[in-house]
C-alpha cells in the first residue's frame, strides 16, 4: 500500500510585514496540529424536467483558520497581530500568503501566492502562553510563483 503524503509537504507562509517593505514570510505551523484551507464551494443544484440534476458551481469562498498561535519572543507575525488587536485595526489587515506543495525530495511541486485579509479572533487564552488565533480570508487573486522559485544558499528565493 502506498504511503501517505506527509502533512509538512504542504507548507503555508504568510508575509509578516503586511505588505510594507520587503516581504518577510513566516511559516504557519508551530503549535498547530491541524490547518486546512477551506474552499467553501458555492454549489447550486437544480432538478430538471429530464430527470437529472443541473449543478452550477458559482465559486469558492476560501478561508483558513489558525486556532493555535502563541506569542514567541521576537516573533514578527505575533508582533504585527498584537498591534492590530491593540488598535482594533480594520484597515491594515491585508497581506499575502504563499502555499507551497513539496514532494518527497523537498522539491517544489507548485507554489501559489494570494492576497489575503488576516483577522484576529481573540487575544489571551490559557496558561500555556499568550495566543492570538486568527482567520485568513483569501481574495482569490492567485498567482503561480512555482517557476520563479529557486534555492540560493539554502534559502528559497522567488524572483521577479
Amino acid at each position: 500500500m502506498a504511503n501517505k503524503e506527509k502533512r509538512e509537504w504542504l507548507a503555508h507562509f504568510i508575509d509578516s510585514n503586511f505588505g510594507t517593505g520587503t516581504a518577510a514570510y513566516y511559516r504557519i505551523g508551530e503549535d498547530l496540529e491541524s490547518y486546512a484551507i477551506e474552499l467553501n464551494p458555492d454549489v447550486e443544484t437544480k432538478k430538471n424536467i429530464i430527470g437529472t440534476r443541473s449543478i452550477n458551481i458559482k465559486g469558492y469562498d476560501t478561508q483558513a483558520s489558525v486556532d493555535s498561535f502563541y506569542a514567541y519572543e521576537g516573533d514578527a507575525l505575533y508582533a504585527a497581530l498584537e498591534e492590530i488587536v491593540k488598535n482594533e485595526d480594520t484597515t491594515g489587515l491585508e497581506t499575502t500568503v504563499v502555499d507551497v506543495r513539496l514532494d518527497e525530495s523537498l522539491d517544489i511541486t507548485w507554489a501559489r501566492m494570494s492576497t489575503v485579509l488576516v483577522v484576529p479572533q481573540s487575544i489571551g487564552g490559557d496558561t500555556d502562553g499568550i495566543q492570538i488565533p486568527f482567520d485568513i480570508y483569501y481574495k482569490g487573486d492567485y498567482t503561480d510563483v512555482t517557476s520563479k522559485a529557486s534555492i540560493v544558499n539554502g534559502v528559497l528565493v522567488i524572483s521577479a
Binding site: R7, G29, L106, I151, N153, I158, A160
Partner: protein, 159 residues
C-alpha cells in the same frame, strides 16, 4: 546533549544538590546515603504539528538514597525534594539535541523504600519527572531568511 543528558545536567545544577548527593548516575543506584540515580522510563508523542515538529514527553524517576536517622534528616530530605520540584518546574525553554524543553513537571516526591528495613540505615526517596519538549524538524524553517541547516527550502520573496 540529548534529553536524558540534559535532565541529568539540570538536576546536577539544582540548588543545594551537593549537600544531598555524592553523584547522580543514570539507570543505577546504590543503597548508600548520597547516592542518586536517574532512571529513564521512555517517552511518548503528545502532539504532532503540521510543520513536521512534535511535542514529546520523556519520563524519568529519580531515586535518592539519604540518611533518615531522625525526623530532622527526613524533614531535610523531603524539603530538598520540594525545592528540587520547584526548581525543575520553574525551568523553561532549555535547548537539547532532541529539541527545546518547554517545561518539566514533577510528581510523587516521597519515600520509596527502606532498603534495609531500618530507617537508621537510610531510605530511598523517589521523584517522578516528566520533561515535555518540542522537537525541531531539521527540514523546517521557522521564518524566512534563516538557514535551518537542513535541506528544506526557505521562502524569501523579492520583487
Amino acid at each position: 546533549m540529548n534529553i536524558i543528558e540534559e535532565v541529568k545536567s539540570l538536576i546536577n545544577g539544582a540548588p543545594n544538590i551537593h549537600d544531598f548527593s555524592n553523584g547522580l548516575y543514570i539507570d543505577y543506584t546504590e543503597q548508600t546515603p548520597g547516592n542518586f540515580g536517574l532512571f529513564s522510563n521512555g517517552e511518548t508523542v503528545l502532539k504532532k504539528y503540521i510543520n513536521g515538529t512534535e511535542l514529546h514527553q520523556h519520563n524519568f524517576v529519580l531515586y535518592a538514597t539519604n540518611q533518615a536517622y531522625n525526623d530532622y534528616d527526613r524533614l531535610n530530605n523531603s524539603s530538598f525534594l520540594l525545592d528540587l520540584t520547584k526548581y525543575l518546574q520553574g525551568l523553561r525553554n532549555i535547548e537539547t539535541d532532541n529539541g527545546t524543553i518547554e517545561k518539566i513537571s514533577c510528581a510523587n516526591g516521597m519515600v520509596f523504600s527502606v532498603p534495609s528495613g531500618d530507617f537508621e540505615n537510610g531510605c530511598t526517596y523517589q521523584l517522578q519527572i516528566n520533561a515535555i519538549y518540542h522537537t525541531h524538524n531539521e527540514n523546517t524553517p521557522t521564518t524566512s531568511g534563516e538557514d535551518s541547516g537542513g535541506d528544506f527550502p526557505q521562502i524569501e520573496i523579492t520583487f
